[in-house]
Assembly symmetry: C2
Homo-oligomer: 284 residues x 2
């Protein structure tokens, strides 16, 4: 299947589409919300920093008034510090993030687990500290109607951002806790390469708290964090992955989250229109 | 375990060390060989292009006269083309690489499987074409005393260089063929992040044809191909991985292969001395 020949499947619509605000990073929240409404996108994924900048209660009111669903809040996590003070601070920060989820009306807190502490080679230890943190935060989150959504990040981020590197690993981790406390994020960008990904999605089942899409393009840019491409510009089998998460039981929002300097330098309206077009064409 | 505190284990010596010539990329073959002899490094990993440049028979004679073991030849592979002509050319090129191994006296042809053809999203298809090629080449290699050594590359190379992304996947692939035809390469750089790596090494067992080391350092450079660090400069548990491949039954050469512009810009003698020091300190 080549993406260039893909056409939208009959019946594809925007009812499950969510725009993660990082896709239009330089647009203020009012613009993001207005563009979603204009384009018929019913969901929006928010980030803590711009929400704090606009004001938490004000953000919640803005989105609610516009009739949008907040499909996730990015992000909590960074649980791998071995220093007790840093660790306590991270847990406290995550409790605040849970509270923000509750106020924004989303049940999904996306977690980026954290990398290796500086100078450390103990990846097993770091991974175990992630589990410890989930155990501590899970009940707090559940009481507030929020699920901790562990996102495996591409292995190229293992050392410095996220020691959870595969979906299978995220599912193993989540399975140690009640399903209403800890789920997983399936982000096509991070998992597409995994020879085991379809079995892992099947295993994930009800643990899937979010499905995110963008595309893998090469060459990677100097800052690999910004290497994500618009759907259809790369090599990820987005429709196949969507079908797999659906077979696993997930029928929730599909969030478009793209970190890409060229898109960020494009007018938000144009990005939103392109997102809609590519979503219908490549995700369905 | 932090690498800064590591000290060489009692009894560590250079008897298993091999210098892959890519580590001193700009040094000519005579210099590489002379430096290995001077430093007491008994093995050398060669690349086809510089060998061809110096002359195949001449390279073989030079290394033999110096008493060095050729521990591997890099590289064959690039099996994923769907075009029949390109595919036939790749197979023919690999037969030549096998012949070169035989002449150089090494039983290990390192294979980089190839990425997705331009415009393709069919990663399963590409992976299956790798298997087909191994089936075609295996008997030819065995007849010449050469084993095809499938190297899983870090998933960040999946789309453009190598659709074989985990050691488990490489082992599954190798297991479809006789063990004397197809083995696997364990390169610490490519597999260290894998939460399943120790089980995969155990499974690999006699399939392990080569163990290669360097270190994972961040940030990744603009060209991620050149992101490898000297042992001890990064976060890879090199001694733990070596112990695991030994438990799995591998007692062969340990090849140092580092693509790093800063090292390439350093005098070969200095690189070789640093390699020896770091090898003793961090691999053992």
């Amino acid at each position: 299947m080549t993406s260039t020949n893909a056409v939208p499947r009959a019946g594809a619509d925007l009812s499950r589409l969510s725009l993660n605000q990082a896709t239009t990073k330089y647009a203020d929240l009012e613009t993001v919300v207005a563009e979603c409404v204009r384009a018929g996108i019913p969901g929006v994924g928010l980030w803590r920093e711009p929400v704090a900048e606009y004001g938490l209660a004000r953000s919640a009111a803005l989105v609610r008034k516009a009739g949008l669903q907040v499909t996730s809040l990015c992000r909590g996590g960074f649980f791998t510090a071995s220093d007790p003070g840093e660790r306590a601070a991270a847990l406290e920060e995550n409790r605040r993030a849970v509270d923000e989820c509750a106020e924004l009306g989303t049940s999904v807190l996306v977690l980026v687990s954290g990398g290796l502490p500086a100078g450390s080679t103990d990846v097993d230890g770091a991974r175990e500290r992630v589990a410890d943190a989930l155990g501590e935060l899970g009940p707090y989150a559940r009481e507030r109607g929020v699920r901790l959504a562990v996102e495996p990040l591409h292995p190229m981020f293992c050392s410095d951002r996220c020691v959870i590197s595969t979906l299978d690993q995220a599912v193993d981790l989540a399975n140690r806790f009640p399903a209403d406390q800890v789920g997983v994020v399936v982000d096509a960008y991070h998992v597409w390469w995994d020879p085991n990904v379809y079995r892992a999605i099947e295993r994930a089942g009800e643990r899937i708290a979010s499905y995110q899409v963008c595309d893998w393009v090469t060459p990677l840019p100097a800052d690999v964090l910004l290497g994500r491409g618009m759907m259809g510009d790369g090599c990820v089998e987005l429709a196949r992955l969507r079908e797999a998460v659906e077979r696993a039981g997930y029928d929730g929002p599909i969030e478009v989250e793209i970190f890409n300097q060229e898109l960020w330098d494009t007018a938000p309206r144009q990005v939103v229109d392109l997102t809609v077009e590519r979503y219908l064409r490549h995700v369905w």
